[in-house]
Symmetry: C2
C-alpha cells in the first residue's frame, strides 16, 4: 500500500495552508514535514507542492490530496462501526464541497447544519461560479458540488435539485431616479447595473430574454451575494437577486421588481463522487430535502432521472 | 502616443470576460477584436492574453489594462470639465478597488453608494484577504485598496482607517451543547470552529491571545462573510465575526459571546494610487468618513500620519 504518513503530511500542508501549521496539527517538527514531502516527491518523481505562501499543490499533488480525503472519509465511517478505532476530534473527516455563491447565500446552509449536527462531520466549502463547480469535482478537489452542469462527471452521480429563481430588483429611490418614465430601452441603456464579477452574465440573460435588449449599461462589480443585495438596497444599481434573499426586502417595499413577474430560473444539480460513502449519502439527503423546500421543482419529466458518470 | 483603439480592445476583452462580449461592447466584430489584440501583441513582442474561458491577461497584458483604466479615469475627469467631450453612459470610468470580504460585508458599501451617487462613477470591487489586497495594488490591478498592510505601495498614498473589531460568538444551542461546563481548554479542543478559508488565521489568533491555546479543534470552512454568520446562527461552529454584523444577533440573543469582552482588532488602511485624480480623492473622503463612523479609531499617535510610497 501507499505510505500514508507521507501522504498525510502532504494533505496537512495543503489543508492548513503552511508547513508550520501542518507540523503543529500533526504534532511533529516543520522539518519532519518537509522531509516527508521531499521523500514523497522522490518516490512519485514529480514536484507535489509549490513552496509559495500559502503552499499550492501541483496537479499531481492535488490528485494525491484528493485520494487522502477519500481514504479519510472511508476511515471515518469505519470508526463509526468500530468506535475503538475512532481518534479524537481533529481527525473527524471533512467533506470538501463546491457551492455557488448564491446557493451558499440563500438555501444551502440549513442542509449543511442539519448534516453536520446529525453526523458530526465537517464541511470544507469552496465557492465558485455554478458553471465552474463541476470542474472542481473533475479535478478531485471536492467530493460533491452544486452545479449548473447536468452531465455527470466521470465517477459521479448527478441529480436535479430544481431551479433557483431570480428577479430583477432595484431600490424605490433608484427606480424614481433612473426609470421615471418606466423601464424603457433608453433608460436601461443608462441606468447602472450590478454584476457579481466579470463571469456573471445573468443580468444580460434577463435583458435578452424579457426585453430582447443587449446589456449596454454602465456596470458596477460587487463580488458577494449579500454585498450584491446590500448594494441594490443602497441604490448602486439594479440587479438579479435570488428570490429566497429578495423576498423579504420586496415584501417590505425596500426593493421593487423592474418588470413584475419577469423571473429567470437557473437549474441546479447535485453531483457527488460514487464512493458508496454513507457521509456523502447523508449530505445528499439533506441537500435534496432543502432543495425541495427552497428551489423551484425540476420539470416533472426530468425529476426522476439520476444520471451516472 | 500608444495606439488606444488596440489597447481598448485588450481592456474590453479582460473587463467583459470574453472576445464576443468585448466586441458587442465596442460595436465591432469578434474577429476585429482578435486582430487588434494580435496587432498589439506583435508590437509589444509578447503574449498579452491567455485564450482561456474567461480570457486571462498575462503579466504584460495586466500592466497594459491597468494603464488603460488610469487613462480612462483621467478622461472621465476631463469630461466633467468639458461636457461636450463626454460620451454616453457605458464610457463612464470604473474605479477598480480591492476590498477584504469582512469590510465589504460590514461597513464599506455605504461609502461606495454615496461616492457613486455623487460622482456617477462606477466601482469594480475585487475581493481578497486583507493581507493580500496590497499585492493587487502593486500589480496595477486596482487603483485603491482596503488593506492590513500600513506600508505604502510605491506610487501610492496610505492612511489608517481604524480597526475592525471582532468578537468570538456561537449560537445559544451550540454553547449549551459544546460548552456545558464553560469555555474550557478541553471543550475548545473538541467544539467545531469555523474558518473562512485556509488563509484565515483569526480564530487561532484569538485563542492564542486570550487563552494562550493552540487551535486544535475540528474546522468547517465557509468562505463568505454572511455565510459565516449564518453558519454560526445555525450552530455549525463558533467563530470570530465583525462587530458591525454580530451586534444585532448578539442583542437579540441569537448569538452569545464565548468570552464577553474578549475582542480582537484588525487595523485597516486605505491605500490609493497617487494620480491626483479627483474621483480617487472623492472616494477616499467617503471611505474615511464611513470608517470614522464604523471602525475603532486608530491610536491617536498614528491618526495624523499619512505615508507616501
Amino acid at each position: 500500500m501507499l505510505d500514508y504518513p507521507l501522504l498525510a503530511a502532504l494533505a496537512a500542508v495543503i489543508r492548513e495552508g503552511g508547513f508550520e501549521r501542518a507540523a503543529a496539527r500533526l504534532g511533529v517538527t516543520p522539518s519532519a514535514v518537509s522531509q516527508r514531502i521531499r521523500a514523497l516527491e522522490e518516490r512519485v518523481g514529480a514536484a507535489l507542492v509549490v513552496r509559495s505562501q500559502p503552499p499550492v499543490p501541483t496537479e499531481a499533488g492535488a490528485r494525491l490530496c484528493a485520494h487522502v480525503e477519500r481514504v479519510r472519509l472511508l476511515e471515518g465511517e469505519l470508526a463509526a462501526d468500530l468506535p475503538a478505532l475512532a481518534g479524537p476530534g481533529p481527525g473527524a473527516p471533512a467533506l470538501p464541497v463546491a457551492v455557488n455563491a448564491d446557493s451558499l447565500g440563500s438555501w444551502f446552509l440549513p442542509a449543511a447544519a442539519r448534516f453536520s449536527e446529525a453526523t458530526g462531520a465537517l464541511l470544507h466549502l469552496l465557492l465558485d461560479d455554478e458553471d465552474h463547480t463541476a470542474a472542481r469535482l473533475r479535478s478531485g478537489e471536492v467530493l460533491a458540488a452544486v452545479t449548473a452542469d447536468p452531465a455527470a462527471v466521470p465517477g459521479c452521480r448527478t441529480r436535479p435539485l430544481g431551479a433557483l429563481r431570480y428577479v430583477a430588483c432595484a431600490s424605490p429611490a433608484f427606480m424614481a431616479r433612473h426609470f421615471p418614465q418606466g423601464v424603457t430601452a433608453a433608460a436601461l441603456a443608462r441606468a447602472p447595473v450590478l454584476q457579481f464579477d466579470r463571469k456573471d452574465g445573468l443580468q444580460a440573460r434577463w435583458l435578452r430574454r424579457h426585453l430582447d435588449l443587449p446589456l449596454a449599461a454602465p456596470t458596477h462589480q460587487v463580488p458577494s451575494t449579500q454585498g450584491f443585495l446590500d448594494a441594490s438596497l443602497l441604490g448602486l444599481g439594479w440587479a438579479l437577486h435570488p428570490v429566497p434573499l429578495a423576498a423579504a426586502p420586496l415584501a417590505a417595499g425596500r426593493l421593487v421588481e423592474l418588470l413584475p413577474g419577469a423571473a429567470l430560473e437557473v437549474p441546479l444539480h447535485w453531483q457527488h463522487a460514487r464512493l458508496g460513502a454513507r457521509l456523502l449519502e447523508a449530505l445528499t439527503r439533506e441537500v435534496a430535502a432543502e432543495a425541495r423546500r427552497s428551489l423551484i421543482a425540476p420539470d416533472a419529466g426530468i425529476a426522476g432521472l439520476a444520471g451516472e458518470g
